[in-house]
Amino acid sequence: MILGHPVRLAVAVAAFLMLALIPAGFDVGLKFDAALSVVWAFGILSIVLLTGYVGQVSLCQATFAGVGAYAAGMMFNTFHAGYVVGIVVGVVAAFALGVLVGLPALRLRGITLAIVTLAIALVFDKYVFQDHIFDWFSGGSGGWRVDGANLLGLPADSSSHLLAGYEVLLALFVLVALLMVNLHQSGAGRRFRAIRDSELAASTMGVNLTRYKLLAFGLSAGIAGLGGSFYPLIAGSVSPQPFWVFTSLQLSAIAVLMGVRYVPAAALGGFFMAFVPDILTRYGHGTFMGHSYDISYDWFSLALGALLIVQLILLPDGVWGDLHGHVAKAMAAVRVHTQRRVRVA
């Protein structure tokens, strides 16, 4: 079986079918949220690889997604290429930028590396996505508009066929997630984890640090870029705002909240990041016991910060990590219990 364990594959296919069908009943706003949640799930998945597997810090993952989005938008708009070509170019561009960002990581670690990547996120936000010098790339402050795109003949225009883009992206996410789980168990995954646990031991035990750190940054950026390159398709346009510095920080915070070492945490995190703010703005106002209240988008950041503190105390391995561990333990206990009963009978 090429994609690993058959049970895992079956679970993945079932999850895909369920998630692909549910949003059919949503209104347009929630359909967009569903598609956006997969874009951010890719962003968090890229942090699972880089931080969870390899132990490197990056605070510019949204920038990689942005590069993917802008590259795809430009290919479609100025070069009139098919949108699939745009996606490929977006992923390649993000991968290349990732390798470049990885270069300082060969020397730096921890807080210094975090600040360098934060600076890269700031520079791209202010001087690439927003600035006029890069209009050829960013399409000016208005960004690129994407209308009437199709994916290899499948109509995927955001106004009429929003769910087509969503379903393709979701399928890709399930595929990449499966590959990531395989990678974790494989030889390359072991080398990545060896770098995370002790770089000194890894290098003196034959792991080429330069190669594997750059590879990790490149792959991680490519994953973020793949999600980002679908953004113009599902949103109909691309602008600097979704890929600014704060998004990078939010992605990192949610990755930690959900469990930075676990692939399924990326799906949870994407869902959380796309739906919760929208639901807050939709239903977060009204009157309660005679008092009118208004919960705006700002509350999302506040809630995220509070949740992060609670999680670090109660669930240090992240929501998925700890709950998954408890469930597995409970299952094992039940199994032992039932076996014992059978033996008695």
Binding site: I2, G4, L179, S186, D197, S198, T204, G206, V207
Partner: protein, 580 residues
């Protein structure tokens, strides 16, 4: 044949010369020992060989090829593996995975094929795991194959470090203090293990350890490093009786005090302060009592079942090899490390588990290794810090009376003072806090002998003021000159207690604790053959081990011990006879 050739390696860190033109040779099949006091440059030499540190000058050859500009991972692939003193296993990975990483490094495997899980990749994976299991089996680690490395006790982790190094299929293993934190029995088993590993895997080893019972037991040849230079080299038996080596480890005997003649012990210890009428050995209720103390760091248990007593106005020395648990004992007493078992009593009260500040407030001052000073603070401000302990402003002039030199330098930043003066500041600060007991850790580290002597005289001044002193010291000679009693630490426990005078007379006992007494025992192996019978001509015996039945080999070895000659020579003789 020389496998590793290190030539004139020179390394400096800032102003400190860590290695000064060091050259060593390691032959194929040899276990080479490298010993030396703390800070002698042993680990730096390891780092140069494994490529983590680039030497400023000098060359290293491995198997005849230069290692210049060869990155660490490439050196590993050429056959140099290493273990780490401070346990660098990949803690969140299972033992099988820990062994698989270096194994994969030898083959060519693609990341993308791995992620796809294609059949070829899976086949290679199965082979890797089989070999990993085989190595774990040899080192008796099968039971833990699927445990996470970080969950295992330190003794087992040390063995896993060796297993992981073997997984590299190395020609040479660099072992950095494999016996650190092991007790006597575990150390003995480690020595057996290292010999077995050499037999089965045909590897050479370069061994750094402070535990001389291990080094003496397994090494064929030794180098002694001191202050970055090769001080001596030779066979273990030669090294053990080398005067220069003993001096480097124990300090020079004081030329003014002739070595104690047998039977005439008492007069020799009459050091300066004995004349002011202090009783020879203070008696009475103990000021500090330690009962069954155990402590450690993480999975590592460093000390166990330590018992000691310090009485008022008494100087007690803790001596013993590095890693024997002296520093950890002080830290557990002063509350920096939480004791895991046992009790600490101070001034009649149980202080076990109290916070360091509260213990300090009760009059127990701890001067840590490295002196615990703030380099940018002036001398006077540093001394005024003692006010925090006494609760009222202290008067630095009291300290200046004892240390006049500090008065001249009162406004200078502590960091600009010489090492000896810094130690005086640390002592003066401790004195101002009006302690009842001062604990000093490695006071003489990095200082010239004359300054060390001055500092030790200061300790007698403290005693004359009624303050007790508990000191940990590498320079045993100086420490025993001033101390009343001493505890000898071995393998994480205070094994032997005696009046300092007796120990000064019985130099052999001390040099045993530093340079290995275990091999002096009558039951021990003759040092010439070094426990393995046929160590002398390894290459020849490798050939013989293939062709000669074990019974014949044993006969040769028996004859070798009987006639006191090397097994290789006898084997050669026999071979000559066959030819004719």
């Amino acid at each position: 044949m020389t496998m590793l050739r290190v030539r004139d390696i020179y390394v400096r860190f800032g102003g400190v010369v860590a290695l000064d033109r060091v050259s060593i040779d390691l032959n194929r099949g040899e276990i080479l020992g490298l010993i030396g006091p703390n800070g002698a440059g042993k680990t730096t030499l390891f780092n140069c060989i494994s490529g983590v540190v680039q030497p400023d000058a000098g060359r290293i050859f491995f198997d005849g090829r230069s290692l210049r500009r060869v990155p660490p991972h490439e050196r590993a692939r050429r056959g140099i593996a290493r273990t780490f003193q401070n346990l660098q296993l990949w803690k969140s990975m299972t033992l099988l995975e820990n062994l698989a990483v270096p194994m994969d490094a030898l083959g060519r495997r693609s990341t993308i094929a791995d992620a796809l899980g294609n059949p070829l990749s899976r086949f290679a994976e199965r082979a890797t795991m089989e070999r990993a299991r085989a190595i774990l089996h040899v080192l008796d680690l099968d039971a833990h194959a699927n445990s996470l490395a970080g969950d295992l006790p330190a003794g087992i982790q040390r063995r896993v470090e060796i297993a992981r190094a073997l997984a590299m299929r190395p020609k040479l293993i660099l072992l950095d203090e494999p016996a650190a934190g092991l007790d006597a029995g575990e150390t003995k088993r480690l020595a057996d293990l290292l010999n077995a590993v050499r037999e089965r895997f045909h590897v050479s080893m370069l061994l750094v350890d402070h535990d001389m019972s291990l080094v003496m037991r397994v090494c064929d040849y030794m180098y002694v490093l001191d202050f970055g230079k090769i001080l001596a080299q030779g066979r273990p038996a030669e090294i053990r009786s080398d005067r220069k080596v003993i001096a480097a480890y124990l300090g020079e005997p004081n030329p003014e005090l002739p070595a104690a003649p047998d039977g005439a012990v008492q007069p020799v210890i009459t050091s300066a302060d004995r004349k002011d009428g202090t009783p020879a050995l203070p008696t009475g209720a103990p000021l500090l009592g330690v009962k069954g103390l155990a402590a450690g760091y993480g999975a590592l248990e460093v000390i166990r079942d330590v018992n000691l007593v310090v009485r008022p106005a008494e100087i007690v020395a803790c001596i013993g090899a590095n890693g024997a648990g002296k520093t950890t004992t002080l830290r557990a007493i002063s509350g920096i490390v939480k004791p895991r078992a046992g009790r600490v009593f101070f001034g009649g009260r149980d202080i076990t588990g109290r916070t360091p500040e509260r213990i300090a407030g009760m009059g127990l001052a701890h001067i840590p290794e490295g002196r615990g000073l703030f380099p940018r603070m002036s001398v006077e401000d540093t001394l005024l810090l003692a006010s925090d302990n006494t609760g009222q402003r202290v008067d630095p002039s009291v300290a200046y009376e004892v240390f006049p030199r500090l008065k001249q330098r009162r406004w200078q930043a502590v960091g600009t003072l010489s090492g000896g003066e810094q130690q005086m500041v640390a002592l003066a600060r401790a004195l101002l806090a009006r302690p009842r007991l001062v604990m000093v850790d490695e006071m003489s580290q990095g200082l010239a002998p004359t300054i060390v002597r001055q500092l030790f005289e200061m300790l007698s001044v403290l005693r004359s003021k009624g303050i007790a002193v508990l000191l940990v010291e590498q320079f045993v000679e100086s420490a025993l000159e001033v101390a009343d009693r001493a505890y000898i630490f071995e393998h994480g426990t205070a094994g032997h207690e005696a009046p300092a005078a007796e120990l000064r007379a019985d130099r052999k006992l001390i040099s045993g604790s530093y340079l290995g007494s275990a091999v002096d025992e009558p039951a021990a192996i003759p040092s010439e053959a070094n426990g393995n019978g046929h160590r002398v001509d390894v290459e020849l015996m490798e050939v013989l081990s293939l062709k000669v039945p074990p019974s014949v080999k044993r006969a040769i070895e028996e004859r070798a011990t009987r006639e006191g000659r090397s097994a290789g020579a006898i084997a050669l003789e026999l071979l000559e006879g066959v030819k004719h």
